[in-house]
């Protein structure tokens, strides 16, 4: 185990970690809701295509929808039940999206039959990739990028370093922390598949220093066959340490080229929960049905880390855990990058790592007063990509979106929120950038 106490990326911010409430709570199973709302697209790429009909009874783990091409993944039934409807349902973005309404059988044992597993020893790389796609696995860290696509190394590129992302820099969330403590066998199994697939020379498990128990546990449980290549790397606590680019720079010293992918510097980064699912599902040929999320925040009464079915509506979750009377905002994820939800009828999807709820005490009735930019450069010192958020903000205010993209690298911003976090003028910089990026993309498309 190496302590990378000095090695980290430049800039970054230090939001309060706020993980004490749930870091020590073991994963508990969350009750099955009376109705599951399962969007057909929980990933980047084309939505899955349903293979079941309305009124059909399905068994837990059964294929509900198959991938539509390579940039798509399968969708499996999170519970045994009956397909009530295949139609439109609310989503986090506010748009209505196609999905499957599934009503679990209350009395069912909810056992999952095994399928055709992908044998570690005998499977080829392509078979492993097909297996990951068939299992419906996407980036569980939040990006929801189809994992099998990420793991298909393009011609002419080599993967030198496999990085398992257990950093979890987002405040309040402790999902990955508990997965590392309680599913270490699954993680190592997943690493075996990934190492075989990527042929990487070295594997780092990146963990922030605020999870010493997880780091120690993984170090202790490291199997003999992985000792040579796998290393547990403890990194300083800094936001956004868990961002792909920042993690690669901290561990390898390389910078991912602007507009490029990590594989261009020989790195592949996979979230630790995704790795655990690969290790758990591939040997038995099952599809992903559930995931661990942290339900937390000052407005939540029964905080904890819960194993919860994909498709569980937010309303059911908050009702079960109980909320304070002055609950004001609910985020899908944590407070730094998680969007505030406009409807509680949206479900937990594959990319949901947590649900955080704030009360009126955290942020008041109205947003803080916005002042003009005073060019204090706190944001310049915070941006991990070395952009100038102050200048970008001024340009955005004047509608100069094209200039932002062409001369100031707007498209390199991954909306981590460090700039808005430190801004003394309380300018919603990230929101300006989102609007600008959308305008630039629209202009490029037309």
């Amino acid at each position: 185990m190496r302590l990378f106490s000095k090695k980290t990326f430049a800039h970054g911010v230090h939001p309060p970690e706020a993980k004490e409430a749930t870091a020590g709570l073991a994963i508990r199973r969350f009750p099955f809701p009376p109705s599951l709302t399962i969007p057909l697209s929980q990933h980047i790429g084309k939505p899955a295509v349903p293979v079941v009909r309305e009124g059909e009874e399905v068994i837990r783990g059964q294929l509900l929808a198959e991938p539509d091409g390579f940039m798509s993944v399968a969708m499996h039934a999170p519970a045994s039940g009956i397909v009530r409807r295949i139609g439109l349902m609310p989503s986090a973005s506010g748009k209505m999206v196609p999905g499957i309404y599934l009503e679990p059988f209350p009395g069912s044992s909810q056992e999952v039959p095994d399928g055709a597993g992908v044998d570690l020893e005998s499977a080829t790389a392509d078979e492993i990739i097909a297996g990951i796609q068939a299992a419906g696995i996407v980036g569980l860290g939040g990006a929801a990028f189809p994992t099998h696509v990420k793991l298909k190394i393009p011609e002419g590129k080599r993967c030198e370093t496999l990085i398992i992302n257990g950093v979890e820099c987002e405040p309040f969330l402790t999902t990955d922390h508990r997965v590392m403590l309680e599913q270490s066998d699954d993680i190592f199994m997943g690493i075996r598949y990934l190492m075989k697939l990527t042929q990487a020379a070295k594997c780092f498990i990146g963990i922030e220093a605020n999870k010493p128990d997880a780091a120690q546990h993984l170090q202790d449980k490291l199997p003999a066959d992985l000792q040579a290549e796998v290393e547990v790397a403890v990194l300083p606590v800094k936001y956004p340490q868990g961002a792909e680019k920042m993690l690669i720079t901290a561990l390898t010293g390389h910078e991912v080229p602007s507009g490029g992918l990590p594989i261009e510097v020989g790195a592949v980064v996979v979230n630790v929960a995704t790795t655990a699912e690969i290790g758990r599902l591939l040997p038995v040929g099952q599809g992903i049905q559930e995931r661990v999320i942290t339900v937390t925040g000052p407005a939540v009464k029964k905080k904890g880390n819960y194993r919860i079915l994909i498709g569980t509506p937010l309303r059911f979750i908050l009702d079960e855990v109980g909320v304070e009377d002055d609950i004001a905002r609910v985020f899908m994820g944590g407070p730094m990058m998680g969007p505030a939800v406009s409807s509680l009828d949206i479900p937990v999807v594959k990319g949901t790592s947590g649900v955080t709820a704030f009360t009126l005490r955290e942020g008041g009735d109205t947003p803080p007063k916005e002042y003009p930019c005073i060019r204090c450069a706190y944001c310049v010192d915070a941006c991990p990509i070395f952009l100038n958020p102050s200048q970008l903000g001024l340009l955005a205010k004047n509608g100069e979106f094209a200039t932002m993209a062409e001369e100031h690298h707007l498209m390199d911003c991954f909306e981590c929120g460090s700039c808005s976090f430190v801004c003394p003028s309380h300018i919603p910089l990230v929101q300006h950038f989102r609007v600008a990026k959308a305008a630039v993309r629209k202009a490029k498309a037309s």
Binding site: P372, L394, L395, K397, N398
Partner: protein, 193 residues
Amino acid sequence: MSNLAWIFVSAVLVNNFTLSYFLGLCPFFGVSSRLETAFRLGLANIFVMVITSVCAWSLETLVLPHAPYLRLISFIVVIASTVQFVEMVIKKLSPALFKALGIYLPLITTNCGILGLALFQTSRGYGFFEGLVFAVGAGMGMTLALVLMAGLREEAELSDVPKVARGIALNLIIAGMLAMAFQGFAGLFGSAA
């Protein structure tokens, strides 16, 4: 401080043509909205000034002793022809700049700063090299003023300027503040205005 060095520093900083003598304000406000055009126009200015200086000195030394009453008009004719020459050169070397400057090129390079250069040079009795140094210094001083002004104007463009002040009003005031700042160079190296 040597005479030539003093002439140079005086022309650039102490007695800046734009910010101390307030000459050549038309082009100053005309092209200082974009840094690129401002800088390139400044260079064109230097070029015109150098040629003018040489011509003025030649005229003063060789021709005008015989007809001193022709001073003003001969300078004007020389400057106008030089401008045409510069226009042709720019058109050939950088069509983009030529297009960007548009009508300003002839308007600008016939600014009173050029005439001022010629007149100052003769009234102060500068020799050939002194005149050259003076021209380069004056041109660089004007370029400096243009560049600084352009930087300030580009920033002001992103600012929330009240409607009543937008446009030439704000620019005049910015120029005034810049001129005040340059007042700090007054008396530098023992020079008097």
